[in-house]
Subunit: 249 residues, 2 copies
């Protein structure tokens, strides 16, 4: 069954009206008709099964049949922040990371980032990544399509530290000296509803100066096991481990 | 420091001689000289730091300086078996799965597999995947380059079940009915040195008949959380979770 993500929070109503891109998809792409059902996923993660009652020139009108009862979102909010990696790697992190349950993706220029994106390019990239995240959210049956935030300065990512309960930094040098417990310890301290910001370097990693700066603002460095993971693999390791920790154990 | 994987097990010797492709890489690509050091990773997972003492027309001669002491391999042997997925997805699973610690990759034609590879094509694919695995093993500083086994019949994968301590099958329908504990329970029953075969379907998943066949031969189905993972994402979830379980918690 198709799944559509709406910008507004859930509110009990007699009817729901869908316009814009979702209208186009239901009417022109899927050629749906009254009587057919879809999932509507609201901004506050509540999703309902709804039936089409009418299709007008501007809107698809639907009524609620039932609520989706299975919880499909991670119990903690995970934000994946990446120093801009090369080429299409970030698109790939967004697609796979959405499947694996990330709540938000943040990009920022780290010292070793090769790509340099100006304001205009960032706006265009943001739109493209939002589309990738929404498609992956639909495909993986999520109740929430992740947000995208692309920053212009490295300082901007430090400025968001204070809005998270935990801030961890994946650091290869920690792994090399055998640091293996901080990630798991941090997860075991968290309870449902809390938020964690997980920061990853680009291909060249972080400099000691960047790590010191992050630490001075409350970030904690941790290793991700004894093997060296690529820039685009590390975020997927973290999201898989968080799912395993909270959803399967 | 460069890392070279050798086909033989470790044996204490005065000198080690390297020929073939590794010789070519050391002498022609890296243009190394006597006095320089490399890692030599032997088939039995023991790795040493070795120094070049001589370079002849046919061989690079090295002497052992010290053993690599850090354990970089997962404490359990994990084999990832995939019903052949579309396009280059399997190459991608081999590259990322090697970074994440897989010991072996097995491919087989599942009922929903679209690609059909004959004997000749499989031999060519095997060589290509071995190369990808060895490069990824070097890049992620592993002590073992994973094996590749591409099978011609689905029955062939069932025939290898008996050589593993545990056989799990990732099954979407298990996830849908909320099965969430078998994977973690199975891991908690395992001890170092044991082996696990983890089976994944292609894009279309497994049919109920395939699942029944696997179960009749001792396979256990399990879910991987509430979100639907793509064919190529599920193996990475499993390897990350196994690393987290055994190496970080």
């Amino acid at each position: 069954m198709q799944r559509y993500f709406l910008a507004e929070p859930y509110e009990a109503k007699d009817h729901y009206r869908i316009t814009g891109e979702n209208y186009h998809h239901i009417v022109r792409v899927m050629r749906m008709e009254p009587g057919q059902q879809v999932f509507l996923a609201f901004r506050d993660r509540l999703a309902i099964i709804a039936e089409i009652t009418d299709i007008t020139e501007e809107a698809v009108v639907l009524k609620e049949i039932s609520k989706e009862l299975v919880e499909k979102e991670l119990p903690v909010n995970v934000t994946i922040a990446c120093g801009y990696p090369k080429a299409d790697k970030f698109e790939w992190v967004v697609q796979k990371g959405t499947e694996l349950g990330s709540h938000k993706f943040v990009g920022f220029p780290a010292k070793a980032s090769v790509v340099k994106w100006d304001h205009k390019k960032l706006a265009k990239k943001t739109e493209r990544l939002k589309k990738i995240a929404t498609e992956a959210a639909e495909q993986s049956h999520r109740q929430f399509a992740p947000d995208i935030l692309l920053l212009e300065k490295e300082q901007d990512v430090i400025d968001i530290f204070s809005s998270y309960d935990k801030v961890l930094i994946a650091y290869e040098e920690s792994a090399k000296i055998g640091e293996r417990s901080r990630f798991a310890t941090t997860l075991s301290e968290m309870v449902g509803g809390e938020s964690i910001l997980f920061i990853f370097g680009p291909e060249g990693g972080f400099s000691p100066a960047e790590i010191t700066e992050f630490q001075e603002h409350g970030g904690i460095v941790c290793g991700l096991g004894p093997r060296i993971l690529r820039a685009e693999t590390a975020p997927l390791y973290v999201l898989s481990a968080i799912s395993y920790h909270f959803e399967l154990v």
